[in-house]
Amino acid sequence: MLQDGPSKSAHRTGRRWRDSDEATGLALISPTLLYALALLFLPVLIVIAYSFWTQDYLTIDHTFTLENYRIALTEPIYRDLLARSLVIALVVSLVTVVFSYPVAWFISFHGGVHKNLWLFLITVPCWTSYLLRVMSWKVILGYQGVLNTGLMSTGIIETPITSLLYNSNAVVITLVHSWAAFAILPIFVSLEKIDRSLIEAAHDLGDNKVMSFLRVTLPLSLPGVISAFLIVMIPTVGDYVTPKLVGGKDGVMIATAIQAQFGKAANWPLGAALSVTTMVVVSAMAGLVVLALKLFVRWIR
């Protein structure tokens, strides 16, 4: 993958390979890469290897088998869980990105000299323990929670709404809340780089605010949107704590199942196979989302 040696183009220009783009790039990335390689090579290997083995209670059988993948792919429970996880992850990331974008926009365009202050303001809520935030949401969304009490005292509802907590809605709300900062930051970063005169030029050519946003600002901030999407979506698929805490009966997601296999159920191979399957499906979906975003942006212009 990373063999060195002079490249063809370097020969032609007569430059030493040491000075080439390739060498500089490799030199720059190598500390990080070596670090990741040292620490991540084994995990990756383990996941892949385990997924082809079998386990009986405490002992691992090292004969190659595809049985785990058969189970992972055909058992309706895993299929449904995967589907549910993907839907939730998609909804969460979509909602997070859509609702966070204006805030990122606001900070970048109207933040003035206080931009860093704003960024801190956005992330401070995440600095209290995650468990406490979840607990707070339970207090807010609960049967006699802040929301229900509020609504009842204003007379909008008679009896407490029970569909607020312990279902997918609660999972989505809690996740959106905890990932908000992670969506705002990359979008903010890419908005910061946009040359403001480009937006002026778009206005000048007849676009109203919405159109100039769709045709100039959005395409130019796409890298940020994409990274926000991925940062939110991928970990969400792998999250098992939030669903467990606020998801109630619906709270089982694929990650819960994977976690159980690595934990109590003590079936690492099945867990590994489920992980690999999930990984592939999630990557594919992430790719699709990125593609869809790019197509959308292309189509709009």
């Binding site: 480009l198 002026e200 030029a201 206005h203 000048d204 050519l205 007849g206 676009d207 100039v216 212009r301």
Partner: protein, 357 residues
Amino acid sequence: MIEIKAVSRFYGIYKALDSVTLDIAAGEFFSLLGPSGCGKTTLLRSIAGFDTPTSGDIRIDGQSAIGVPPNRRPTNMVFQNYAIFPHLNVAENVAYGLKRLKLDAQDERRRVGDALDQVRLSTLGKRGAHELSGGQRQRVALARALVMRPKVLLLDEPLSALDKKLREEMQVELRSLQKAVGITFVLVTHDQYEALAMSDRIAVMFGGRIAQVATPKEIYQRPLTRAVADFLGGMNFMKARITGETATDLSVETQRFGAVTLTKPPGFTCGTSEATIGIRPERLRVLWDDDTAPHAIEGHVVDRHYFGEITHLIVNVPGLDAPLSVSETNNFGADDIPVGAPIRLAYDPDALVALAD
């Protein structure tokens, strides 16, 4: 078409525009001229709607434009820094504004093609924005505005990155476009020749204020102030003693150009005993060998600058405070006159102008 009324613009305490008042007629080719940093771009941006004046009013087509967003103004602008969309190629950049008009594809393609032809870029339609040279970028910016056929076209130094030949072609193109379609042009330029050659009227600005608004010929031949005269081409200045003064005229006695009567510029401080008068270098003509002229002065060449088409001679005339600058086409051999040679210069007394300070 465009009325600018006492518009001021502060950046903090810095006054970029200082109560500017201007009327630009529909279909007029209007140029803004002035030194770097005098507020030209600021004024243009105020007209386009990107900048809101701190005070004053801007009316377009009789309606106040304050508060009207740029996209609802009948203006299009060519930005000084081009503002090419980096995510679009050349043709897409040019087609940007058209997309909203929902033309059919063929129509749109034709208009984009025409605009690219006008700026001589028809072969580069598929180039990415970052694969262009400086001049090519500028032409894309120009095409992008031209293709919109706006009522008012605001051009912020649209040709500054082009070589003279191409610039002249573009000037002709712009001029003919304007005549054909009747667009109002407001051109910011730092190139006097461009302004003189293309404009119906020119406004000269200094430090956020308008110094003079007039037709090219008038502003060139009858500049009101020393600064305007100096800014628009060279001018030989000298002091003259005032011998008589009426409401409109000024009789002065000069060191070498005799006694003349000149039009008094508005803004001239009355009651002073001295006036500044000036004569353009090209209004001084070298007298060869036996040539004679009714009005002539003598001196000798102290320096010489070659400019291809013309040569500038710096001539020391005894009795004058400063050497005279003379511009002469190179048809006789002005470029060969040796430094130090004696020289005789003919002039027309009508070429002298009195200037306010």
